[in-house]
Symmetry: D2
Subunit: 294 residues, 4 copies
């Protein structure tokens, strides 16, 4: 029950009319449960949490809990206000979340000082029935992670770690070396999963684990086994796919790629747009390259 290993941030499949496709979601959970994953993240950035209604969020958490009994269930609950974050945290804990992942609030960027963020996370952790993981993803929030914030929060008994998705391995390494051992720092950026493990990441919350879970898990296992040559080779095999998903096509690309892998990505929700038809020909060989490397 931790961020040690590989965790896919589950996508939220939508139907063509924009409605939640819960059946597709559950099918994905069951299919992925066959892999040696450390758990599942629901309501993350790749889960399009920013565009979900509250009742949809509840349905997704309940479904994940139902379809993956006994697996570590991490749920994104970060909202712009502290009180809304607390409320959602409590709700998903009741629905069976094992831990919550709390995104930095970011709308009022200039006001989100290290102190304001610290108070936010502490208040949420004080109120949370389950362990809290911090979540920084500057590509979406526009907010850099303040040096010194992780060690300040690591002392809280309910703050268990963080997901660092900037891709800045130097920052991740500095965070790891500034916190006690029990505080887990997961890498949230597949472009640097292997080097992040090298500097102490506990595991990875990786979009590509939705479509090539075997390759992502193989990389992690190779690292744990001390087989750096194999880990590096797997990282190189994952790079083009990770870049295509993260940089070129985003969630729509990830959902498309899942289709190739036999899962049900479904549609994205507007204003997100479908990946262009050309993405089909672009993604298929990248998936095959990643799979072949295992």
């Amino acid at each position: 029950m931790s961020l040690r290993g590989v965790i896919p941030p589950l996508v939220t499949p939508f139907r063509a009319d924009g409605a939640l496709d819960l059946a597709a979601f559950e099918a994905n959970v069951e299919a992925l449960a066959a892999h040696d994953l450390a758990g599942f993240l629901v309501l993350g950035s790749n889960g399009e949490a920013a565009g979900l209604e509250e009742e949809e969020k509840r349905a997704l958490v309940a479904a994940a809990r139902r379809r993956a009994p006994g697996r570590f269930l991490l749920v994104g609950t970060g909202m712009e206000s502290t009180r809304a974050t607390v409320a959602l945290t409590r709700r998903v804990a009741e629905l069976g979340a094992d831990a919550v992942l709390v995104l930095t609030p970011h709308y009022y960027k200039a006001r989100m000082t290290a102190d304001a963020l610290r108070l936010h996370f502490e208040t949420v952790a004080d109120a949370s029935p389950v362990p809290v993981y911090l979540y920084s993803v500057p590509a979406f929030t526009g907010l850099p992670w303040p040096p010194g914030l992780a060690p300040a929060l690591a002392a809280h008994p309910r703050i268990a770690g963080m997901k660092e998705s900037s891709g800045d391995v130097g920052l991740l390494g500095r965070i790891v070396s500034s916190v006690p051992k029990h505080f887990e720092v997961a890498c949230g950026n597949a472009l640097v999963f292997y080097p992040a493990l090298c500097v102490g990441a506990s595991g990875g919350v990786l979009a590509v684990a939705n479509c090539v879970p075997r390759a992502a898990v193989a990389l992690y296992r190779a690292f744990v086994a001390g087989d750096h040559a194999r880990a590096r080779r797997l990282q190189e095999a994952l790079l083009p796919l990770a870049a295509a998903v993260a940089t070129n096509h985003g969630v729509a690309g990830l959902k498309l790629a899942m289709g190739f892998a036999g899962l049900r990505g479904g549609e994205v929700r507007a204003p997100l747009q479908p990946a262009p038809p050309s993405a089909l020909d672009e993604l298929r060989p990248l998936l095959e390259k990643a799979e072949r490397a295992v």
Copy 2:
């Protein structure tokens, strides 16, 4: 019923326990209604819309409608998903909003291409019972406004204008000269209200209009009367206050300043933090400077 003139983005007062203070909000609306304002904006960035619950939003809109009958009531309804934006737009129209202000979705920044934004705004406008104004505020969204988007949307019969809050007067001028006359471009940044009017802004949606409404209105009237010397003098008098509110202290500073002006700013909602005690001594002379210039 338009963005011609000065409109205050109403703040949302909270009580010390974090709950909505609707009485304070209504008192502010009534006090401000005594001024020659072109209307009111509810649920804008300075209204802390990002941290409000849906039922709080409804209560605020209904209260504003009740306390300012006959005045132009503009309501912020931009959400991250198109469908949530449509739903909120319809709801506030039922509650009496005269028009809605739709923020650019921005969480998935790299995916918010000009095309994706155009489709978003068009879908909202197609579904809206009331006129739609576009809203760009890069300081909060991290998203620059794509050149060419305003003229592409100006043809829609229900898209009436936009609020441009970047402070980039060159951009505002280029938008004005690229759209038909009926499309109103309001300036959302008090640091450049006067020069924005000079290049064709229709009016201003200005945080400082909450605390020094007379000065903001006087600037607008001077400009309309062709008295550039007076307009420039009033702009200079507003500069330090606008800078202190926008740059130094944000919404918390604005709320504090409103207290000096006899209004009820109330508390901010966490994770926003109160302005430091030193802000008291800093803001008072700036308010007086702005008032004296009228």
Copy 3:
């Protein structure tokens, strides 16, 4: 002898083999001298100063002095080191420069604090035989102008003003209202020339003044005469040309446009590349639009 009025930042024409084309430069000076310009800037950003050798710089300054006797000759002398800036400042003063324009050093961005910049400018001004103008152009330097720096330097008897090229009219207005009257703040961005004048700019150092000097001067005169309607109309007519030059094609586009206007832009120096052939068809109507508006 000041920044009151319109000043073209003279381009540096090169021959196809990359050598300086001094004859073309001199022809341009003579042609432009027929216009009601407040002076000339040599060795500015549009003069490709960053790519010139010291002897070329001397030749250009001497030639400009020779061909424009009695006109205000402003010369860019900012280098990365203070001592090199001092040395070049002294040399161009000997060659007849009436004043120097000193760019913010910027390579060691994080170290260029307000204090470091203040000491730099003061040392240069202490050593300069001629008045010193400060120069900020973040699009090239990546360095924002620190609030408070202009008023701190305005007290120096040899610091006469600054050229503010960010296009941020709010910043320019704040600088103007923070310095004594004698300190001139010129606008270095044609996209906002008219609104900058509205908030107190003394004049403009404008790339487009190389190719449409009549329109630029007409705008300035209209403003001085209080004819805001005409000034705004001229600004709108200049906008597309200024955007094409500043944003789309840079110095290469400016040089191409000069050709249409009967001047000799010449080639750019590598690594700058020529404007694409399509720029020909794009720029011609923009020039005509600007000319027609006079």
Copy 4:
């Protein structure tokens, strides 16, 4: 004769009066020559090349060649113009440089497209008598490295590799996996030296190698020997020193730290300012921590 191993970017000591202190420079070269370094970089960013005169550059190259016979001598020759870069490249080759390091030109940022940069580097390589290494350091240039540029240039017979100083390990890994094996990619950022090696960096050009050469070399050797645990421990020991030098104090901090290590950093050249007195107490324990880890 390559970027395999550790290379210190030599600092340029100045005397209190701002003049070059060549004796101190030579003493440093001799002292550092006792270590197992792969060579020396002269005229890099940490060598304050941006603020050096041409004759000073020649003196430094000649001195380094004299004091380190037989060692790989890499010399920074990137200037803003292609022709100046070519000229300096030829000159330093005559003075004994084994290879040159060519910084991306960056003043005209928006114009420095991948094509413009490619032509620049190709022209320099065509004219260079010695191997050419590309150099990207966005913290100073404000210019990101275009994807696809390294593989496009790797085919040139005289382009031997690059120094990637952004600290973006994902980018470095992608470059490594896109170029042929003989193309060396050195890490120019000590915060990520170990993880960069993990993804295929050939070595490191590291500021801290000036003051703790033993620790930097030990890290490299541990990595080459497959001792990841020791390499990671050394990386952690270097982190706070690297951060203090790169982020907090820059070249002035590095020079101060060299003093503790028995070398002669000397003064920085204005507009760079000396490190504050407090840096003394801050840096000493960080140096000791790095040394102790060896």
